[in-house]
């Protein structure tokens, strides 16, 4: 006998919205003394996440300037990145299907590496001159 299961709308999986990176506008922002971990999710045409994305695709990540921002080798669809020096960069993510059946998807994310919070002080005492 067929059965019907009622599920509350709030219990349904949510469409993948814009995930919450530390952005200023659309800019990726990180300090030169900071690190973060990004996670990529595959989504269908309706924006819903596809389960087991790690088994379907491979991630590669790169920075336009490796002296400002670097990426560690990815683990599945997760990657760790590090701010190194203040400046403007573009982070590029490429997600490639393991069997070539979709994509590849390329994301080019502009961003800035900011000066970190004060951690110490340096003093320039100037050059003495005759009064």
């Amino acid at each position: 006998m067929p059965t019907v299961k009622f599920v509350k709308k709030s219990a349904l999986p949510k469409a993948a919205g814009k995930a919450g990176p530390p952005k200023k506008g659309d800019l990726l922002v990180i300090g030169d003394d900071q690190q973060a971990t990004l996670t990529v999710a595959l989504v269908d045409a309706a924006g819903f996440p596809i389960p087991n994305g790690d088994t379907l695709a491979t991630l590669s990540a790169s920075s336009s300037d490796a002296t400002l921002l670097t990426f560690d080798p990815p683990t599945g669809l997760t990657d760790h990145y590090n701010g190194l020096k203040p400046g403007t960069i573009t982070a590029t993510l490429v997600i490639t299907a393991n069997d070539g059946s979709f994509g590849p998807f390329t994301i080019e994310q502009p961003g800035t590496v900011n000066v970190g919070a004060p951690n110490a002080a340096t003093v320039d005492w100037g050059v003495p001159t005759i009064r």
């Binding site: 995930a19 530390p22 989504v43 045409a45 994310q109």
Partner: protein, 91 residues
């Protein structure tokens, strides 16, 4: 020994021999039945192991089929990225 005694002895000997042969046959049959039972039990255990392995393989195949169907029905059309929250290095 008289002829009658000899005949009785021969008859007795034949009866003993027949009884021995009968017991030997029954013993052999019993051993055969035990061996058959052992073989049947081993075959049943082997069949059970094979059935269990087949069930596990079927479950794995169904999982693969489900993933494949989900991918076909719902192919990835894009990605979303969570860039994470920056934290001080080493924390």
């Amino acid at each position: 020994m008289t002829d009658q005694q000899a005949a009785e002895l021969a008859a007795l000997s034949a009866a003993v021999q027949a009884d021995y042969t009968d017991r030997q046959a029954k013993a052999a049959l019993a051993v055969q039945e035990m061996e058959d039972a052992d073989r049947a039990a081993a075959a049943a255990a082997q069949a059970e192991r094979e059935a269990e392995a087949a069930s596990l393989k079927l479950i794995e195949d169904l999982k693969k089929l489900r993933a494949y169907v989900e991918e076909i029905v719902n192919p990835p059309a894009g990605v979303s990225v969570d860039w994470g929250t920056p934290k001080p290095k080493g924390k």
